[in-house]
C-alpha cells in the first residue's frame, strides 16, 4: 500500500469509529487504563449487572467496562464463533453447557490461577476441572405463581401435576429450564437421568394437559404477573426480582422436592484484545464485594465461599451448600440436549 493511502484510510477509520461511538452512546474509549468488553445477557441482567458490578469495577480500576448484550448463550456463542479470528470481546458470561461447547471449539482461554487469585474461593461445584473460567453466578429452578388467583400456592414441583388444566407455562427444551425440570422429575421418581430418562419423560407427559404454553411469549414472569398463566417454572433470581417489581403479584416458591442449579461461567476469550483487563475483571467479578452486590441486586447466588449475605437476601437465594441440590452434569448434558429436546417434542408436547 502506498503512503498516500494511509491518511485516507485513517480518516475513514476515524469516521467509522466516530459513527460507532455516537451510536453506542459515546463511551470514552481510550482512557488511560484501557477498556474491557463483557458479553452477557440482555435486559434485566444487563441493567443490574452493570449497576452492581461494572460501575464499581470502573470506579476501582479506572478501566472502562462495556457490557455487550446478547439474547441468550447460544447467540453469544454465535458471536464468538464469527469473530474467532479477530475478537472484539474480552470476557463472556454464559451458561456452562454452552461454555463447554466454546471450550471445545477453542474459543475460550485458560485462566492463570496466579493472575486470578479469587478463583480459588469458588466452591467446588463451580470450578472448571481444565482451568477454564469458573462459575460466576448460580441460579436455581423455581415455581412462580400468581398470588391473586392462586389460593393454595404449590410447595413443590410435584404439585404442578395437581393444578387446573391449561394453567402452567413451561419453557420446553432446548431451553435449559425444561432440561432442569426433566432432571428434577427423574430425581423425584428415583431414576438416574444419565442412565434412563424415559420414565421421567413419561411422567412429564402426564403434565401436558396442565400446560398452557411450552414456549412462553412473553416470558413466564410476565405471563404469571398478568395472570395469563397461573403457574410457571422459572429461574429464582429473576423470580425474586420480578416478585418485587410486581409488588407481590408474582410469588416465588422454594420447591421442597429438589434444587436444580443453573451455572453461568465467566471466561476470558482466546486472543482477546485486552487480556490483562479481562483477567482483572474476572478476578473482580469473583470478589466477595461483587458477588454480594449482585446477589443483593438481583438474587443470583454467589459462587464463592467467602461471602456474607444479609439475612433478607440470603433467605431468597439458594446456597450451593443446600442438601437438596440435585446435581446436574452440564458438560454431559451438552451432548444430550438435542436428544432430550427430541424426546420432549415427541412424547411430552406431542403426547
Amino acid at each position: 500500500m502506498s503512503r498516500t493511502h494511509i491518511p485516507v484510510l485513517g480518516a475513514g477509520a476515524s469516521i467509522l469509529m466516530l459513527a460507532t461511538a455516537c451510536g453506542g452512546g459515546g463511551g470514552a474509549a481510550d482512557e488511560a487504563n484501557g477498556e474491557v468488553n463483557i458479553l452477557g445477557y440482555a435486559a434485566a441482567f444487563e441493567d443490574n449487572y452493570t449497576a452492581a458490578v461494572l460501575d464499581a469495577f470502573e470506579e476501582e480500576t479506572g478501566i472502562t467496562a462495556n457490557f455487550v448484550p446478547a439474547q441468550n448463550s447460544a447467540e453469544m456463542l454465535g458471536q464468538l464463533r464469527s469473530e474467532s479470528g479477530n475478537p472484539t470481546i474480552d470476557v463472556v458470561i454464559m451458561d456452562t453447557s454452552v461454555a463447554n461447547t466454546a471450550i471445545a471449539e477453542g474459543l475460550l482461554a485458560e485462566l492463570d490461577p496466579a493472575e486470578v487469585p479469587n478463583v480459588e474461593n469458588v466452591v467446588e461445584m463451580g470450578q472448571n476441572p481444565d482451568g477454564y473460567g469458573p462459575a460466576v453466578t448460580f441460579d436455581n429452578l423455581t415455581i412462580i405463581y400468581n398470588t391473586e388467583s392462586v389460593t393454595e400456592p404449590p410447595a413443590s414441583f410435584s404439585d404442578l401435576w395437581e393444578v387446573p388444566d391449561n394453567s402452567v407455562a413451561i419453557p420446553a427444551p432446548p431451553d435449559i429450564q425444561g432440561i432442569a425440570l426433566t432432571v428434577l422429575t427423574a430425581d423425584e421418581i428415583g431414576a438416574d437421568y444419565q442412565q434412563d430418562i424415559q420414565p421421567a419423560i413419561d411422567r412429564l407427559a402426564e403434565l401436558a394437559p396442565k400446560v398452557q404454553t411450552w414456549d412462553p411469549q412473553p416470558d413466564s414472569y410476565q405471563l404469571v404477573t398478568n395472570d395469563s398463566a397461573q403457574y410457571a417454572i422459572a429461574w429464582n433470581a429473576r423470580s425474586q426480582f420480578f416478585s418485587d417489581e410486581s409488588g407481590g403479584t408474582l410469588g416465588a416458591v422454594s420447591p421442597e422436592d429438589g434444587i436444580a442449579f443453573q451455572v453461568n461461567t465467566i471466561n476470558a476469550i482466546e486472543n482477546s484484545p485486552n487480556p490483562e483487563a479481562a483477567t482483572q475483571f474476572i478476578d473482580y467479578a469473583l470478589s466477595p464485594e461483587a458477588q454480594e452486590a449482585f446477589a443483593a441486586q438481583m438474587f443470583y447466588a454467589p459462587t464463592i465461599s467467602n461471602v456474607e449475605l444479609p439475612a433478607e437476601v440470603a433467605e431468597r437465594v439458594s446456597s450451593p451448600e443446600d442438601p437438596s441440590i440435585v446435581e446436574i452434569d452440564w458438560a454431559w448434558m451438552a451432548d444430550e440436549r438435542d436428544g432430550w429436546t427430541e424426546l420432549w417434542r415427541r412424547h411430552v408436547i406431542g403426547g
Binding site: T101, N166, R345, I349
Partner: protein, 312 residues
C-alpha cells in the same frame, strides 16, 4: 414504374412488422456500445443480488454439508449427515407435513375469504370504492408483529372472545385458541389475506360485467353464470392469490413463534431454533435447503397447473 419485384407465394409467413421494441441505440456501428450499455445497466443489480441473495444461499448450502460435532462444536467437512439426520427422522417428516398442512390451510382459508371481498371490490360502483379497497389492503401497512399482538389479545385465554364467552356463560373454562396451531393459523390467515386480495383484484382484469350480463340474458341461472362465466374468468387470480399466501405462510415465522405456544413445529420455527438456540447450523441449513426444495417443487407444480388452466 411498375413493381420492383414480384410477390412471393408464402402466404401469411411474414412476422408482424410492428411492436418490436427497439434497442436504445441501434445502428451497425453501435453493437458493441450497446453491449457495454447493457452490462453497465445490469452489473450493479447483479452485484447487489450476489451479495444479498446468491452468496447467502450458497453459503447455506455449504454449511448444510458441515457436521455438528460433540459438545455442539461446528466441524468443517463435506458430508450429508445433516440431511440424513433430517430425512431419516420421522419427526422432521412430521414437521415438513405440518408446514405443508399449515400453508395449505392458510392459503385455502385466505382464498375462500378473499374471493367474495375481491369480487365485491371489483364490481362495486360505490363512490367509496377507493376507501374500501384501501381498507382491505391497509393491514399490509401494519407491522405483522403488531397484528400478531392484536390476535393474542383477541384469542388469548383472557382475550376478548373468551372474556365475552365466559361472561355470557357459554363456556366455563376459556377456549384454547392461542398457543396452538389454531391460533397461529387464524392470525396468519388474516395477516396474509391482503396479499391474496391484491392478487385477486389485479387478476380479475378479464372479468367484465358485460360477460356475466350476456350469460344472464342467454338464460343462465345465477349459479350457472357463476360456475360457467365468473369462476373460470377469475381462476387465474384465485390461483395467484393461493400461491402467494401458501408461499408466505410456509415461510412465516413471527406469528407461529409468538402464538404457537411451543406446540407448532414447522420448518420456519425449527430453522430458527437450530440456528439461534441449539446453534446446530448444519442442521438448520439442511432444513432450510429442504424448505427451499419444497418451495421449488410447489412452484413448479403451480406453473404446470396454471399452464393447464390456460390451455383448457
Amino acid at each position: 414504374m411498375s413493381a420492383a419485384k414480384t410477390t412471393q407465394g408464402t402466404p401469411g409467413a411474414a412476422p408482424g412488422d410492428t411492436s418490436r421494441p427497439a434497442p436504445l441505440l441501434p445502428g451497425r456501428g453501435n453493437r458493441s456500445r450497446t453491449r457495454w450499455e447493457l452490462l453497465a445497466l445490469l452489473i450493479p443489480g447483479l452485484i447487489g443480488l450476489l451479495l444479498a441473495f446468491i452468496l447467502p444461499v450458497l453459503a447455506m448450502f455449504r454449511m448444510s454439508l458441515n457436521e455438528h460435532g460433540t459438545a455442539g462444536a461446528l466441524v468443517e467437512t463435506i458430508s450429508i449427515a445433516s440431511y440424513q439426520a433430517v430425512l431419516s427422522d420421522p419427526f422432521y417428516w412430521q414437521v415438513i407435513w405440518n408446514t405443508l398442512v399449515m400453508g395449505f390451510g392458510c392459503a385455502l382459508a385466505a382464498v375462500v375469504l378473499s374471493y367474495p371481498l375481491a369480487l365485491f371490490l371489483v364490481r362495486t360502483t360505490s363512490k367509496w370504492k377507493g376507501v374500501l379497497i384501501a381498507l382491505a389492503i391497509a393491514p399490509l401497512l401494519t407491522s405483522a408483529v403488531a397484528r400478531t399482538f392484536g390476535w393474542i389479545a383477541i384469542l388469548g385465554d383472557q382475550g376478548m372472545i373468551n372474556s365475552v364467552l365466559l361472561a355470557l356463560g357459554v363456556v366455563e373454562t376459556p377456549l384454547r385458541m392461542n398457543n396452538n396451531m389454531f391460533g397461529s393459523t387464524v392470525a396468519l390467515v388474516e395477516i396474509l389475506m391482503p396479499y391474496s386480495i391484491l392478487a385477486m383484484i389485479s387478476g380479475f382484469g378479464r372479468l367484465n360485467p358485460a360477460l356475466e350480463e350476456a350469460a344472464g340474458s342467454l338464460g343462465a341461472s345465477k349459479f350457472k353464470v357463476f360456475t360457467k362465466v365468473t369462476l373460470p374468468l377469475t381462476l387465474p387470480g384465485i390461483f395467484t392469490g393461493f400461491l402467494l399466501v401458501f408461499v408466505l405462510a410456509i415461510s412465516a415465522f413471527v406469528t407461529p413463534r409468538l402464538m404457537g405456544g411451543g406446540r407448532v413445529f414447522i420448518l420456519a420455527t425449527e430453522i430458527y431454533n437450530e440456528a439461534t438456540q441449539t446453534l446446530n447450523w448444519p442442521l438448520a441449513s439442511a432444513l432450510a435447503m429442504i424448505l427451499l426444495v419444497v418451495f421449488g417443487l410447489f412452484i413448479l407444480l403451480y406453473q404446470r397447473a396454471v399452464k393447464r388452466i390456460d390451455q383448457g
